[in-house]
Symmetry: C2
Subunit: 390 residues, 2 copies
């Protein structure tokens, strides 16, 4: 067994951070959290899977994971004020053990499970009375066919654990497909009918241990191939629907005891708003908040997990649009185009320090403007010039 | 002779930054430049004087200075796209040598000298026809008394090189004072009359090698004991004066061939606008731009020194005020108060990761609001609660 390796050692310094936050994961969310942490004098200490993880390149301190995950987590948490997350891919059992050992997790293991196990989330949210798509658990072809008999093909099948950015989600056209997906995903499937979506929305809520809650404006998310491609803030919605979405977000945050940022992905259907998935961490749908909201989701997450007072969540302009930079099929790297193209539109570029590969999220572009159409055109234009609007 | 020590080594990573910018100095300006560099995928490599320098604590890579400054600068520049500066305290002769060796400096050595030698700057700016306070060089009591004879006591005496934040500036009430200041500063003094200032203003200009120029709004700076304490943006000025200040800024940037951010400190007197001092680097008077301007001075500096297209410089709100957090006499450290006080006002906190000591700039607070009065109250309130409004 080899232990975790310290990385990014600092040459002494004062050692007097305002606080030390440990974060499991060192991807782009940790990278942008580190940027926010710098302003607050907070040390962000990450647990990285590999030496190329992009929060390390930005200068977060941390550990490279060894081959004993529980030992790594203990070492990460040691001396930190709180342990939080950049992703969902941690064994829930390890989190429960850490909690039993007295480590302060934010969110706690029970709340985090809502983002780690989609089936658990659906069952518990149903029990709490939140509006959900029809769903069922299935472990056999017979159970899938039974659900299809009630809702008709095609279905959507999801692996309850481990999926992200479209991975772990399959469209099931009929019995033959179903057998293949059962084989591929293994174990239990979460089934839902293929819904007729008017739009997809997301609402961010920050909640701290004291119970203080800060609600962000409801945004519209534009998806392609299961991956969020654009965020339009605020979503253009009748006031009643926007209010209802916000109430759902706050209700869920309080209902499940979320700490830190909670992102609630919502479907807008002919039957109204339905809760799709939860993320208990900063979320892609909140990237617009860096320039678009008085307190970015990254600063807010830090404040919430530390139990600090939360910041205001008003929009900084009438309309804010974020477009993800996704690696194009030809392997173009936005970093090679940035110096020439950065002035192509009035928009803010965020690169994640990742090597380009097709379909990989490499960064995002945000534009603030007087209306959504203009903001969207600007952000899309710059994203296209950077090769990331594939 | 011991060489520079690499610090903040990263565990490999991709090595594929969008660009590599070397910066002499690792203080708060380098720290905030590093934050901006992260978004653009730029590697900022700093030359630090000591292991506690605050850009290192934020995760910039770099070198700890050894005892051969020229060798350190060469090593810092090696492999970087450009060499730039977080301060003015570098021997101008070293910069000329680097330039002769083919190192790309931004700004170049000749332009940088305008910020390194106040007397040189006054003489050259006078030659270029910019409005200046009356001034003279003096090396003897007789020369000082001669200047006093023409302008009357008291005078202001400045050391042409090495001063900052009020250091290297003395008020001279009469001949006795003059002898003391001659002794203390040594060499040549820059003399000026004690002016009757209505206000102090500053204007930031970014200029890139291509000649592209971006002008920031004129701001009012509030000084105490020679140190900038508050920045009010935009300065409340008659339109003609604001336009004139902007023209002065652009004229000087072009006249001296500045590259990167140029800050022009201006006196508003009964005789109109007079040029006080120049800084050729990001500047305290531009800290409000992080939240207050579409393109912060730190991102803009990076774009300008790399020869990239510049970004827009519109205000993000009607009024923006920045208040510096200055260490109070009792040694209070804002980091110890942040978790409790951060919600005291709607304002953005920036801590520099420095140990508190009386009179030291430890951070700043910025508020964006509908009018200057409200923004100023908010920023001052939070600064006070953090112990930094001493």
């Amino acid at each position: 067994v080899s232990g975790a390796t310290p990385v990014g050692p600092r040459p002494g310094g004062t050692g007097k951070a305002s606080a030390t936050v440990a974060m499991v994961g060192a991807g782009q969310l940790a990278r942008m959290t580190h940027q926010a942490a710098i302003s607050l004098g907070i040390e962000l200490r990450v647990l990285a899977a590999g030496p190329g993880d992009c929060a390390l390149a930005a200068g977060a301190t941390g550990l490279l994971a060894g081959d004993d995950p529980l030992a790594d987590l203990r070492e990460l948490a040691d001396g930190a004020d709180v342990l939080t997350f950049d992703h969902e891919q941690i064994d829930p059992e390890l989190l429960r053990r850490l909690e039993d050992e007295g480590v302060r997790l934010a969110p706690g293991a029970a709340a985090k499970l809502f983002a780690q196990d989609k089936l658990h989330a659906r069952r518990e949210l149903e029990r709490l009375g939140f509006p959900l798509p029809p769903f069922a658990a299935a472990e056999s072809l017979a159970e899938i066919e039974d659900f299809a008999g009630r809702h008709s093909w095609p279905l959507v099948a999801k692996a309850p654990r481990g999926g992200y950015d479209g991975r772990g989600v399959a469209f099931v056209e009929g019995a033959e497909d179903a057998a293949r997906v059962l084989e591929e995903f293994g174990g239990t499937l979460l089934l839902e009918p293929r819904l007729d979506l008017e739009r997809e929305l997301a609402v961010l809520v920050a909640r701290s241990e004291s119970g203080e809650v800060a609600l962000y404006p409801v945004v519209e998310t534009v998806q392609a191939d299961g991956m969020c491609r654009e965020i339009l803030a605020p979503a253009e919605l009748p006031e009643g629907l926007a209010r209802q979405a916000g109430e759902l977000g706050v209700g869920i945050a309080e209902g499940i005891g979320a700490i830190g940022i909670l992102a609630v992905e919502l479907f807008l259907t002919g039957d109204g708003l339905l809760v799709n998935e939860l993320a208990l961490r900063p979320h892609n749908s909140g990237h617009y908040s860096i320039e678009g909201i008085e307190t970015s989701q990254f600063e807010q997450h830090l404040r919430a997990v530390l139990g600090w007072p939360l910041g205001p969540t008003g929009l900084c302009g009438p309309a804010v649009v974020t477009v993800n930079l996704v690696g194009p099929p030809d392997g173009t790297d936005p970093r090679t185009l940035l110096g020439r193209e950065i002035g192509a539109a009035d928009a803010h570029v965020h690169l994640y320090g990742k090597d380009a590969s097709p379909g990989r999220k490499l960064g995002h572009v945000t534009a603030v403007a007087d209306d959504l159409q203009v903001a969207r055109e600007r952000a899309r234009h710059l994203a296209e010039r950077l090769g990331g609007l594939s």
